[in-house]
Symmetry: C2
Subunit: 147 residues, 2 copies
């Protein structure tokens, strides 16, 4: 098993960062505008990226103290069964985001792409909570021939 | 051992991307302007980031067909002994960059920071070879309280 790991920080209260990763409205501000679903444990989140497809995830954990966890239930074969884990921690004026997309079976080229792409979305998340403006798809940063 | 893995693509000839990762002049265009050293196997590259410090690396491999490898010989304790591996491949108008920073002893928080930070520098590399303008330090993207 291999994991994608990242860390960003935003000058924003933990509650705001939590809202941005725990609710469909928040996620739509930095990952993809086509986000819908229910913000509750066991609820389903649906993420779409126009014609490219997307992901369905089940919410496994929601803790306003700074913990969110999703499990991928539909999407590209490599993603199914992987989990996305968020840990938020307030440190002074910063909220630190520890991000993990874990349980990849192999470090395939597509995983490397997703690692870089996640970084761009985490910076989008940072910008969203700091300024109100992220770069969710379809306005996301294109990093290669794979988007 | 844990690895940082990324993948970006640039619309540029492989030779240009190779030059950007194989020579101090190229690296200064996207990673840090304070880059010096000799572009030869066994040669030493010195990367500095103002007062923050920096890294010394030994070049282990240089192959204009698309392979570069460095070994970290000085810098933060977590970096020493790790290796940075570049594989470039031309695919049509794209040059695909497979990046690996391998041999981390543990997935510590600092590694997660470096993972995200490398992504921003890889996009800086992409911009540099595509447009002539990257964002090397000290003009790099600040991603958190750790820079």
């Amino acid at each position: 098993m291999v994991d994608i790991l990242h860390r960003v920080g935003a000058v924003a209260p933990l509650e705001e960062v939590y809202r941005a990763v725990a609710t469909p409205e928040g996620i739509a501000g930095w990952w993809t505008t086509e986000t819908s679903g229910a913000s509750e444990v066991g609820g389903k989140l649906v993420f779409r990226f126009g014609e490219v497809g997307g992901f369905d995830m089940e919410i496994r954990e929601l803790d306003p103290r700074g913990r969110v966890r999703w499990r991928v239930t539909d999407g590209p074969a490599e993603w199914i069964g992987t989990e996305v884990d968020w840990r938020l921690e307030q440190r002074g004026e910063w909220t630190i985001v520890q991000f993990k997309h874990e349980g990849w079976r192999e470090p395939v080229e597509f995983m490397n792409h997703c690692s870089t792409k996640w970084a761009t979305f985490l910076i989008s998340l940072k910008d969203y909570v700091e300024t109100g403006h992220g770069r969710p798809a379809p306005d996301d940063v294109k990093i290669s021939d794979w988007h």
